[in-house]
């Protein structure tokens, strides 16, 4: 008996979902598109929420920023649940092996006392500020509008929790559980931390979700991450605290990656209309001043005489970044 093998090409009957065909045309869609576009609930809300009777459940009016198409605020990293968790799992593995190495070889004991103290005084209490970032971004994903931005904000929110956990582990590695109690006391009562705590707590009660996005993701992160994980980090390395630099590697890497996403959101929103641009620019100006006030004492503690110069560098870079995004600051 003879068997003939032949190939049969089976054409799929449909390329993708109808709601994606409406937006992108009839062609296969990427996983990111499938999980992000045209799925914001827009109608059939039934009742208005009792806790906010002026708005429907998902309402465009909850921010001053207005967009014709909210799906324009896409994530350049194209994170959907799968790709996001895969990317972070890989980074988590790397971080884990760094912590293992620092613990196994006792590298923390080799850090000069002065550098260690700076890390305990500055980095460890920052975990409470990270928790503020977690809350703010979770708020955006709850009350924001447009699945492409709310989805990314939820990831961002979880990332902040991750950073807080790394900072906690740094405290544990450097000085055991007492480091965390001490950091909490500093955060609650230490004079150094009160301006930062006030600022973070003020962000917790904002109602406009895009304002939180600007204040937290653009301004606070845009100023504090370069200060702590770039400038202060080089100080650690230069003075024998390489182990601390190793343990903060994720934060530096993460800040670079997420800044691209934040930039893309601000750029698109600012280009949408002169009104948006004005509102965004005002927010940046308003929060830049308070954030700098909050960071100044911390920078002085961390960098001593160099603090003023470094803060100025950070500010110049930040202003250049905002100008590139089309903001008038």
């Amino acid at each position: 008996m003879q068997i003939d093998l032949r190939t049969v090409a089976i054409k799929p009957l449909r390329n993708t979902f109808d709601h994606l065909v409406e937006r992108f045309g009839d062609k296969p869609a990427s996983r990111y598109q499938e999980g992000s576009y045209n799925i914001q609930q827009e109608s059939v809300f039934h009742y208005r929420p009792a806790w906010d009777a002026d708005n429907v459940l998902f309402d465009k009016k909850r921010t001053k920023i207005q967009m014709k198409d909210w799906y324009a605020l896409k994530d350049p990293r194209q994170y959907y649940y799968g790709s996001y968790t895969i990317a972070r799992a890989r980074q988590q593995d790397a971080a884990e092996s760094i912590f293992d190495m620092v613990e196994e070889r006792g590298l923390a004991e080799l850090i000069p006392a002065e550098q260690k103290q700076i890390a305990l005084d500055i980095l460890v209490p920052m975990r409470h500020a990270e928790w503020g970032g977690n809350m703010g971004n979770a708020y955006i994903s709850a009350y924001g509008y447009g699945t492409v931005i709310t989805q990314a904000c939820l990831y961002h929110s979880m990332d902040h929790l991750g950073v807080a956990q790394y900072l906690t582990r740094i405290g544990l590695v450097l000085d055991g559980p007492d480091a965390l109690d001490k950091a909490k006391d500093d955060w609650m009562d230490g004079a150094l931390w009160q301006p930062m705590r006030r600022h973070v707590e003020n962000l917790l009660v904002l109602e406009d979700w895009f304002e939180i996005f600007v204040a937290q993701n653009l301004v606070l992160e845009g100023l504090s991450y370069p200060l702590f994980y770039d400038h202060l980090d080089s100080e650690f390395s230069a003075n024998g605290g390489t182990a601390i630099s190793m343990m903060t590697r994720f934060m530096g890497e993460w800040a670079g990656e997420t800044a691209k996403w934040v930039d893309a959101q601000i750029k698109v929103a600012a280009a949408e209309s002169p009104e948006n641009k004005a509102v965004l620019s005002d927010w940046v100006k308003q929060y830049r001043a308070v954030t700098l006030d909050a960071l100044t004492p911390l920078a002085k503690r961390a960098l001593g005489d160099k603090a003023a110069g470094v803060l100025e560098d950070v500010l110049t870079e930040f202003n250049a970044r905002c100008a590139k995004l089309g903001l008038a600051v």
Partner: protein
């Protein structure tokens, strides 16, 4: 005139790659076969890292092409930014 070609497996990973090759090489033609896409082009075919990165939203190393590559024909000129097939050498 002679033709160069490149063939990939048809999957999630290669779709943006094929898309960017077709965008960068307007003279190229697509041949869809079961589980394989073949791109034919007269004389030359250029694959650019930048246009792939634009579509996938992350850094891309051109050597990642090899994972889903089935076959190529043509002399290959490869650097960090481009992957070029031609008969010019």
């Amino acid at each position: 005139m002679s033709t160069v070609f490149i063939a990939f497996q048809t999957n999630e990973d290669t779709r943006p790659i094929v898309e960017s090759i077709l965008a960068d090489n307007p003279h190229a033609s697509l041949e869809e076969q079961p589980a394989m896409v073949k791109i034919n082009a007269e004389d030359q075919l250029v694959i650019r890292r930048e246009s792939i990165e634009e579509r996938i939203g992350r850094d891309f190393d051109l050597q990642e092409l090899q994972v889903n590559l089935i076959t190529i024909s043509g002399h290959l000129d490869e650097d960090d930014d481009t992957f070029t097939l031609s008969w010019k050498n």
